[in-house]
């Protein structure tokens, strides 16, 4: 049994990044953290600094202004980390697809920094908190111990400053 992986699955600290969402997804994420859904049962906890985070909850399609910040936040996050694209916007820019101000979607932006970023998608406009829990559970179940996820990715090159 891989203890590192077990611990990571049992204790996911999340950091919330808004990259130009319409705020509906953010409300649902805040809803997810209320006593009603009680995600602390699964060890999920909201933290204030990306240095402490294991997962980034990204909402919004990734505007040109936000893309720079998103890359910076990703670089500051202690690896290994998982990125969750919450909502249709984050998965594929959603209704903002044709916007002049978009740099997204999120996965394209992140792959510029780290080609091997681990990205999970939770579609919906906005996704229900139940859907988000399901997404997180499925993504965690998909992490394989044989990838030596927790140790091998450490120290792997993350492009220093692509901008």
């Amino acid at each position: 049994m891989d203890w590192n992986l077990w611990a990571l699955k049992k204790s996911v600290w999340v950091f919330h990044v808004n990259t130009g969402a319409c705020n509906n997804c953010d409300i649902e994420i805040v809803n997810l953290l209320t006593p009603k859904f009680d995600v602390e049962r699964f060890g999920i906890k909201l933290v204030g600094s990306p240095r402490h985070a294991d997962a980034l909850l990204v909402t919004g399609g990734g505007t040109r202004q936000a893309a720079v910040r998103l890359k910076e936040v990703y670089r500051q996050t202690a690896k290994p980390c998982i990125v969750f694209c919450m909502g249709a916007c984050a998965c594929g820019m959603g209704i903002f697809e044709k916007g002049y101000h978009m740099a997204g979607p999120i996965d394209t932006i992140l792959r510029q920094v780290d080609p091997d970023a681990i990205i999970a998608y939770v579609p919906g406009c906005p996704p229900k908190p139940e859907a988000m829990i399901m997404g997180v559970v499925k993504a965690l179940a998909a992490l394989q111990p044989k990838e030596k996820y927790a140790t091998e990715r450490m120290g792997q090159a993350v492009v220093a400053n692509p901008a």
Partner: protein, 318 residues
């Protein structure tokens, strides 16, 4: 040689590192679980703090570029070492092993974690951490005075029962529960609030405030270094309530049924701390200073006077 070995055993295994860590991780689960129950939730499973620490151990350590590398890495270890010695001294005192003056050593060791936090956060070079360090420093200035005065009350009360000079040892202090007198009860309440601030719990989590400083003093720490901070906080959760039990509530008697009563006292203090944590909003730093210096300070001056009167007139309940 055997003395060195025995001391090493004491510090690293039995009442020290291994044992205190186990109790501390359990206590930090208790904090989260009781907090969850207060909010009508289920709360985390019992292995949650262990999983958190194990996960952090497997993560990347980031050292900020503008930071001071050596201090940044050494600070959590210094803090952990301080709490480790503190808890060893306190556990040994409950077992009757103590020396004259260990109260003062314990008082000094109790400042170590806050000092390490201030050092580590100032070394990280982040403005958020700097604000957090400033707040922590003010908080230390605030609660040290009432805490020392509360200890003086206990020392005055103990002086009536032991040889002159002997009252400075933890074993002598823990012979009787000084909380069973007016001044002692006052001192206990104030010391409990000081311990709340030392633990960095609501209403005094000003230095770490998640909502405006986003982690404050700990903001730049990640991976194993953050894990060491978490372990330090878990051990403080054992050491500081134990300090209150030893000093104010008559200690833990390790023989027979009274041992269960001793554990009960420890859990009682812990639950008091958790309930204060869960029923209060965070105060501002100026409110905290005013609270500690003005109200707690005045209360403690009154308590010292009462205790002295009681000592010279021979009135035990004062």
């Amino acid at each position: 040689m055997t003395v060195v070995l025995q001391n090493a055993f004491w510090i690293l295994i039995f009442p020290g590192l291994a044992f205190t860590l186990a109790v501390g991780l359990f206590a930090s689960w208790l904090v989260r679980k009781v907090g969850a129950l207060v909010q009508y939730r289920v709360g985390p499973p019992v292995y949650q703090p262990l999983a958190d620490v194990m996960k952090l151990m497997g993560k990347e350590i980031l050292v900020p570029q503008e930071g001071h590398r050596t201090v940044f890495i050494a600070a959590p270890l210094v803090g952990l070492a301080g709490v480790l010695l503190l808890s060893t001294i306190l556990w040994l005192a409950t077992a009757g092993i103590s020396y004259v003056g260990d109260v003062i050593v314990a008082m000094y060791l109790m400042v170590f974690p806050s000092l390490a936090l201030i050092l580590g956060s100032s070394a990280s070079g982040s403005p958020h951490a700097a604000v957090g360090a400033g707040r922590e420093m003010k908080l230390v200035l605030g609660y040290e005075l009432p805490l020392v005065l509360a200890l003086i009350v206990v020392l005055i009360k103990t002086a009536g029962w032991t040889e002159p000079g002997e009252q400075l040892s933890l074993v002598a202090i823990s012979q009787r529960a000084s909380v069973l007198s007016v001044s002692g009860a006052l001192a206990f309440i104030v010391a409990l609030l000081c311990v709340q601030a030392k633990l960095g719990f609501v209403p005094f989590d000003i230095a770490e405030s998640e909502s405006e400083l986003s982690g404050g003093v700990l903001i730049e720490y990640s991976g194993a270094l953050l894990a060491v901070w978490k372990l330090m906080q878990a051990m403080m959760l054992v050491a500081l309530p134990l300090f209150l039990v030893v000093v104010f509530l008559g200690g833990i008697d390790p023989s027979g049924l009274s041992f269960v009563w001793g554990i009960g006292k420890f859990v009682l203090v812990l639950v008091l701390v958790i309930l204060i944590k869960n029923t209060n909003p965070r105060v501002r730093i100026d409110q905290a200073m005013r609270f500690f210096w003005l109200y707690c300070g005045l209360a403690m001056v009154v308590a010292v006077i009462l205790a002295s009167i009681g000592h010279y007139r021979g009135i035990a309940w004062l």
